[in-house]
């Protein structure tokens, strides 16, 4: 190392000669795909939302898609359904995931590997596969859920043909699928908390409940925030479950922003209008992310 001379490169050597090439060559393949298939489409989609794609590429820019969006009754239904699912499902899932993570992290737990397997198994199941299973389990006449309900003396529910129950099925399905995923992230967060903090607390006589509220939750905040932001973005893009479990029905009772975007973009091929819907999703996601960071991410 000492043999490397300290002198600057000769002034004649230009900018090109002085710039290292290797890092750029390493990044180039990633960057080409990134710019072509990800960064450019983000811009392109925005531009498209000002065009009427049904009139061809020559149609002038305008706000037609956006003014339609403001008045669109179906869009409002899709937005409301998506927000209702999000407001019910995300807190339900994250509280369950937090409790599960704490339980799975407990030293008192026997056969921890089996419990982890049970709760984490759903996260390797694809959305199409579990949508099929849930559609069958919640079948009104033959489903296992109604059999179980009547078995314990409760009336069966017409799950998929009523708006409230259909929404409930979606919430239950998503909770089943995603709780384990969030529990893993929270578990990793828990394992980052030093044992000493808990030891000090129990010497001071803090009960497990107090320790949970005063130590675990505050220290878990970065992980919870991460789960919250990801879950909100994920719910805003909800597509497979309403498409395959409830078929957006009954009527449009479980139509989401995702299924409406699909309908407009790939059934009606109204790309401009679908882009406007997509950008609304992005805007809502951005607003939620900022609010969540402000409310819960005070330290960082």
């Amino acid at each position: 190392m000492t043999t490397v001379p300290k002198r600057r490169p000769a002034p004649r050597a230009g900018w090109w000669a002085r710039t290292p090439k290797a890092p750029y060559l390493f990044i180039l393949p990633y960057l080409l795909i990134f710019l072509t298939f990800w960064a450019w489409p983000i811009i392109s989609s925005f531009l498209m939302s000002f065009k009427d794609s049904r009139l061809g590429a020559t149609a002038p820019f305008g706000l037609a898609n956006w003014s339609r969006l403001v008045q669109d009754e179906f869009f409002r239904t899709a937005l409301r359904n998506t927000l209702v699912i999000m407001i019910i499902q995300v807190p339900l899932m994250l509280s369950l995931a937090t409790v599960l993570a704490v339980a799975l992290n407990s030293k008192l737990l026997r056969a921890a590997g089996w419990f982890r397997f049970a709760f984490f198994a759903p996260l390797v199941v694809g959305t199409v596969a579990y949508s099929a299973v849930f559609r069958l389990l919640f079948n009104t006449d033959f489903g296992m859920v109604n059999r179980a309900l009547t078995g314990i003396g409760l009336p069966p529910v017409d799950w998929l043909n009523q708006s409230g129950p259909a929404m409930t099925v979606l919430v239950l399905a998503m909770t089943w699928r995603w709780t384990g995923y969030n529990a893993i992230i929270l578990l990793a967060g828990l394992q980052g908390i030093s044992e000493d903090v808990y030891e000090a607390a129990s010497i001071d006589g803090a009960t497990p409940t107090q320790q949970f509220w005063k130590i675990t939750l505050p220290l878990l905040r970065p992980s919870l925030l991460f789960c919250l932001v990801l879950s909100v973005i994920g719910t805003l893009q909800l597509f497979t479950e309403p498409a395959l479990i409830t078929n957006s029905g009954p009527g449009n009772a479980t139509m989401t922003l995702g299924t409406y975007l699909y309908q407009q973009g790939f059934r009606s091929f109204n790309f401009g209008y679908a882009s406007a819907i997509a950008y609304t999703v992005a805007a809502i996601a951005a607003i939620f992310s900022v609010v969540q960071l402000r409310l819960f991410g005070r330290d960082e």
Partner: protein, 289 residues
Amino acid sequence: MTTTMQAPKEKAGVKARDRIRAFWLHLALIPLAALFLAPLWMMAVFSTHPESAIFSANPPLWFGGSFGENFRGLQADTNYLRALLNSVVIASLYTAFSMLLTSMGGYAFAKFDFPGKSWLFGLILATLTIPTFVTIIPQFIMIARDMKISNTYWAVILPTLANTIGIFYMRQAFQTVPTDLLNAARIDGASEWRTFWQIALPVVRPAMAALAILLFLASWNDYLWPLLVLTQKDSYTMPVALGTLIGLTRVSWGGIMVGTAIATLPFLALFLALQRHFVAGIAGGAVKD
């Protein structure tokens, strides 16, 4: 002496209290765990029964003998074997190429200083919270109309090959590789590529295994994008083929459950065997520091 006499007594008290707590913990967790496993159990059981049994007054809770029959029905309706082959090829190619791209990029961001580095990284960072929905329409137009490669493997693979999570993950991984190790290789005359390929990459192999599992699973289970660019039956991936069945009444639920079981059970087995990698991968891909 009194203090030494008291210590074991208190320990016994703690032990008894812990035993009660452990009891309640298990009492709460066992039914919940059963509830989480129930849909998977029913999927496996239903895949071995004809539809008539699944929809009978007493639905089966244990395996039957109709798996083969259900599978033949499924294969006749969807060419499921072809769809599985497509899925395996697409997920493998996707994983291999995405790993290559993100590890090269992550390596550059972790181990080099170069003009424009923070600007480029900032650009990638800025797109992290943008929902994928925003890009699917331009991506679709590009793939289907401009490049005309619908129904090919590349149509499915290309758009998400340069995934953002991957490059962050690999950057994190390469930051743990000592720079002295790389410099030693360089002094010995290794080219930059050889330093990367033979020195740096083997060090981060465990991290790569976790990321590879996640990428493979994500590709294997992806539905919306393949649904858009695959329009011919023989090009369908497994989820798309399954999706076409679910709305229909003609196909037996036994067949659909065979399809879901085949798509799911190998991964459950793998998950059981490689739980550590899965858990580390998901946790590592999520939050660090």
